[in-house]
Symmetry: C2
Subunit: 760 residues, 2 copies
């Protein structure tokens, strides 16, 4: 039965480009109103140019670097709404596509390359949910899950066989246990889908019901899962290929990295094209494996279903409970990928949740059939894992000694494994998007690139997966111990969250549902513990350490964004303030704590609002009528660059001061003479810097001016020589740049760069 | 006889910190005057603060990061001159030493480390020529020359012995030839010194007399020489050490690099301390070798001066003229370092040139004695070069079979070789200084650091020498073929330049002097050709290719600075212009050529002087009364940062426009509503960017505004969030930075950064 959780906002899984510009809540709008009421601007001077560019369309001039006049790049918004008041209701402009292209030559070349590889940009209006039919959704979403059967049974047997061929008798009981687990988790997820019809990833479900910490833990587990999905799938796919073509084995690592890059490029091109690629290979794989099973069982029937004795393998470890548990946990990696459907519910056609639920059922059924069928057949054929060749490959060779069918099985296996990696490329950036929207991940993951794909998230995934893949040298079996922990962590938290959900919304039959999810949660939790403990030394310790570290990282990121938001939020002005009055600042004021809730007026604090207050006090929003300016121009030589800066500074009509730093007295005198020859239009202050430093004394001088008159805004006008060619910058000291960097640290100092373009 | 060359300026070898601020010539001052006459500023508003900081000394407030109030860092200049007119004749300020220290925590830690290693800063007044007595100057300046005897004879014999032990009979004749060469070149340089009493490096002499190209070629040869001096000396010193202590041989390369770094640190500390270190080791080396010679000759006398037969070495090459020439050229590396005295003439006590000349004579005499003595003794002792041990080491072992004297010889040899590298550390930065002053090298080499050392030049030398040393694995013998070419190139050009010099100043006895220099030039030229040709395949090709490339590089650098100077030079305003009138700009004006000589008024060009002219026209100095402003504020969100930027913009009192880029129509509407709630104090223009780009459309919009009204100055006010901790920057997109970079390319756009400091 469809329902919504308490916080509709957080389960809102609509991805929109405007997520980077969240709307203000009513309290913030009220603060905005009050701040604006303080402004006294009088009659602003009329604009000397028409900002809508309407008057100039008839006489376009060519742009600096292109044939198109920049005016032609913008067109007015088509707007049906009636005009509101004259100033603010006017239509805006819309930027045409060439307006995005950068102007530098290097930028344009890169842009052309990008467009060739990725395609032309897509407009925001193209963000629609692409709706899939069930028969299309099934292969698209199940590739990860079904591809797991390529390595799942092998993982199980690889551990069992450590106790010698005798232990192989436990194969069937363990497989039965895994099938039960699959069914239980499948049923559990089947219930989750109606409860979160807009998409129900573990992060959202756990965060919704169990709190932020649980949500972040689930997210950490999922992120590790996605990275490992890519690494393991690529490794397994490479393994399948090298089983068929052993000559390629030395190139496993470079080929795998190449495949990851191809997947990255394909996803950067956009999601839309990705979906259609899946249908055929997935069905082909299923058909191939079913064919393998049919032929294999026919042969076994020919033998009367008598199992072939496996080759004798000496035991290297004792057969104990721990080994059995390890084998079980290894085999459980066959379940990775069940989440895909619940993540993608909005992608189905209406009624979304019903169709998703049905698809999930089919998917789990197929998994059970393939997994059980393969495991039983392997048992009947008496195969054991061997290095250098996958178990599935061995089975295919035995079943199809002649003909092309072996190659078909291997090829479809490799293909579906490589495509399974792609589901991670879908889900990882979306997870990061939701986390970034809540402030737990860097905001750059909110950004939809020009192909409507989360470029930053895709690159992050590709980079991390490549690192892991290369670090493990492309060996599947070493990665699998890490794999199970993350996945079952997410499973456990998700299903526990659902239990809490049902308890909270006591709808019809909530007890039954809670029981089902509870059983799934308990089983997943057992597998989680098993995997974490039994495989700890084999590599699971990495995950056990990484998850808390990731959660800590997410908390720190969130804390930063929260502090940033608090620092940048508008604060309402204190009441009863006369515009224009500012009592003298108190020196050495103790640092005030950040302002309390916006609605309460601030406690007795000085009413002046210049940004250059005494260090440590809370800086309030300035109102323009209270800003007092002093313009400072550092002058090194009297050349064109300095003249432009001086002319600009004086033309602002505010008090202006020129500052010259001299290395010696004699040079200072010489400069003062030149200044007089120029006509002494601006007050000059010379500072002799006997240690030949420039940035330090200048920054300290400005700090001294600031300390002398904290209510002033100091505007430093710095001339900047702009060179055409980048290598010419080697011939220039970066004094302007270093000066700007030093000045940036001073409160109350505004830096203005006046460029002088040198065309050489 | 002391004389001066025609261009006194270029032979002025006084190093001064004001070299970075060259004075203006009279034509430039006149232009400055005329430009200043155009300014109409009316009565400038009074400064709201006292720039001399005088009024605030009584109430200092602590600085942001330190206990010192920034005001206390400055004190008024002590000035004896009477007050001139009130505004410009006032004293300036002098920055105290703590004013140099940066304010960031990392900067202060680095500063403390720097002061610990290098010592406290020295004031400019400390740039005095340190005067040396002859007995001190001799060891300081001769270490390079004398140390060459440690590897010179060996280099000679190493080549000779390729033709078998039979060829060793040519040792004495070749050595005699080398001695003649040393004497000739010595006499030749003895003449150069009086002609250039302020220092006479090859660069200056060749550039003075043979033209810029020859000067640059000599400079290139010298630079290669200096780099190789360091590399070869360090390698030879390491070789001497590992001859005595073979266990250190695997660590040759790291130890050598460490020594180079130590030399670098010592030189960065300042030249003054370096001088005193030389005296003892040089005299010790001379004494050790003389002692070696004395004992060796006594033993040989005991044998009746009968030469011991050398061990039989099979011939690997034929004994031909080419081999003999190669051997000669290899032995000629014993002469590297003769230039040291002529470079350092100003460092002697008066009468400088006489003392320098005498010191040079002693130096060459000592070289001849040591070189001839060693070569003869080696011949008498019948030694041949062996890998793994230097020849000098073999000689010392034979001569001092017991006792500590062998160790003394090796130790002093190693020491003087390491110190020989130091002469390059003296001369290379000075060479770069002179080249930079003429515009042939980057200006950063003009800068005197806070220990009055040319830090940039020192680091450049150390870096290059390290690269060469490591690339050759610390093997001396491979570097020597490169060595001779650069050195003798400089010798040849220098002495040829002197010939031209004597011809030009036909003083008393000029023919004799020209002949002496001519003989030296011819001999050096022969050795140069020999070295370049005979050793071409052994490595001299590197130098043969590098020198023209370097000269080309110097030319390009000079061309850039010349173009830069032309672009930045003040141009006088055209005559007869009415202030305030500006005819409409002509669209599509063809690019005008750069203005001709400053004295001639410019041809008919538009008289308006706004910086935002039609693309391609010559931009003239603006005068403030003709600047028209438009202030543009890009606003993304309505938070404190944007409020500050808007308040600042409006407070300037100029026409102001706010621009918002929205990813979708809905968001644009939402923003316009918020703007109205705020009170609509500034005209707003919204641009919908349907491809979600920000920088491109904004830059193009500003270009469109500029194209619509080219006479305006567009001031873009960008809010900048300044974070305390650097790693927080990972969590923020660099939109502000990218915007500034894109806007920098646009003509007529001034960028203002209003900082908002986030204290977290």
């Amino acid at each position: 039965m469809p329902g919504r959780s308490v916080d509709d906002d957080r389960s809102d899984t609509v991805v929109t480009p405007s997520a980077e510009f969240p709307p203000l809540d009513p309290a913030e709008v009220d603060t905005l109103r009050r701040v604006g009421a303080q402004w006294r601007t009088g009659v602003p001077p009329a604009l000397p140019v028409d900002p809508t560019l309407d008057r100039y369309r008839s006489r376009p001039a060519p742009g600096r670097f292109s044939r198109l006049a920049p005016i032609a790049l913008f067109r007015p918004e088509q707007d049906d709404r009636p005009e509101q008041d004259d100033r603010a209701g006017r239509d805006g402009l819309v930027a045409a596509e060439p307006a995005n292209r950068p102007d530098s030559r290097l930028g344009r070349r890169l842009g052309r390359f990008r467009r060739a590889v990725l395609g032309p940009p897509l407009t925001s209006a193209a963000v629609l949910h692409e709706r899939m039919r069930k028969l299309v959704a099934l292969p698209v979403l199940s590739s990860d899950l079904l591809s797991s059967v390529a390595y799942g049974p092998e993982a199980l047997l690889t551990v069992l066989v450590l106790a010698g061929s005798g232990a192989l008798g436990l194969t069937l009981p363990l497989s039965a246990g895994l099938v039960l687990l699959m069914v239980a988790v499948g049923i559990s997820y089947r219930q989750t889908i109606p409860a979160y019809p807009h998409g129900a990833g573990s992060y959202l479900v756990a965060g919704d019901n169990l709190g932020v910490g649980a949500g972040l833990t689930a997210a950490a587990g999922l992120m590790l899962d996605y990275v490992l999905t890519v690494s393991v799938s690529i490794a397994a796919g490479m393994h399948a290929i090298t089983s068929a073509l052993p000559g390629l084995m030395p190139f496993t690592v470079p080929l795998g990295v190449l495949v990851i890059l191809l997947l990255l490029a394909g996803n950067l091109r956009g999601v839309r094209t990705a979906g259609n690629i899946f249908v055929l290979p997935t069905y082909a794989f299923v058909a191939a494996v079913l064919g393998l099973l049919v032929v294999g069982y026919l042969r076994a029937a020919g033998r009367g279903f008598a199992p072939v004795a496996p080759p004798v393998v000496p035991a290297t470890e004792g057969l104990g409970l721990l080994l059995v548990l390890r084998a079980f946990a290894s085999g459980a990696v066959s379940m990775t990928g069940i989440e895909a459907v619940s993540n993608a519910v909005p992608a189905f056609r209406p009624t979304e949740w019903r169709n998703a639920r049905t698809t999930l059922a089919w998917m789990v059924a197929m998994l059970v059939v393939l997994f059980a069928g393969l495991t039983l057949l392997i048992h009947l054929t008496g195969l054991v894992p061997r290095p250098g060749e996958t178990l599935l490959s061995q089975l295919a060779r035995v079943t199809f000694p002649t003909g092309p069918w072996y190659a078909v099985v291997q090829a479809t296996t490799a293909l579906i494994l490589l495509l399974a990696a792609n589901t991670a490329f879908n889900d990882f950036p979306r997870l990061l998007f939701f986390m970034a929207r809540a402030g737990h991940a860097p905001r750059r993951f909110l950004h939809l690139g020009d192909r409507l794909a989360f470029g930053n998230g895709l690159v992050a995934l590709a980079g991390t997966a490549t690192l892991v893949y290369v670090a493990f040298g492309g060996h599947t079996e070493k990665l699998i111990p890490l794999y199970a922990v993350g996945v079952f962590l997410a499973f456990t938290l998700s299903q526990s969250g659902m239990v809490v959900h049902w308890r909270r919304h006591r709808g019809v039959g909530w007890r039954r549902r809670a029981l089902v999810n509870g059983v799934g949660a308990v089983l997943s939790g057992l597998v989680l513990l098993t995997a974490a403990v039994a495989k700890f030394t084999e590599g699971a310790w990495v995950v056990v350490i990484a998850v808390p570290l990731l959660v800590l990282l997410f908390h720190r990121v969130h804390r930063h964004y929260r502090a940033l938001h608090a620092a940048l939020a508008l604060r309402p002005p204190p009441g009863g303030r006369e515009p224009g009055a500012h009592p003298p600042p108190t020196a050495g004021e103790p640092p005030a704590t950040p302002a309390p809730a916006p609605a309460a007026p601030a406690a007795p604090a000085p009413a002046s609002a210049g940004p250059g207050r005494a260090a440590g006090s809370v800086e309030r929003e300035e109102v323009p009528q209270e800003l007092r300016h002093l313009v400072v121009v550092p002058v090194a030589r009297l050349n064109r660059a300095s003249m432009r800066a001086l002319a600009y500074a004086v033309s602002l009509g505010r008090p202006t001061l020129a500052v010259h730093l001299a290395p010696e007295d004699a040079e200072a005198d010489r400069f003062r003479e030149q200044w007089r020859a120029w006509g002494d239009h601006v007050r000059l202050e010379t500072i002799v810097s006997p240690y030949r430093a420039v940035i330090g004394p200048l920054a300290h001088y400005l700090a001294a001016l600031h300390a002398a008159a904290p209510e002033l805004v100091l505007t430093v006008v710095v001339p900047e020589v702009v060179l055409r060619r980048p290598w010419h910058r080697l011939l220039h000291s970066r004094t302007g740049h270093r000066l700007r960097r030093a000045l940036r640290e001073l409160p109350g100092v505004v830096v203005t760069s006046v460029p002088v373009h040198v065309v050489e």
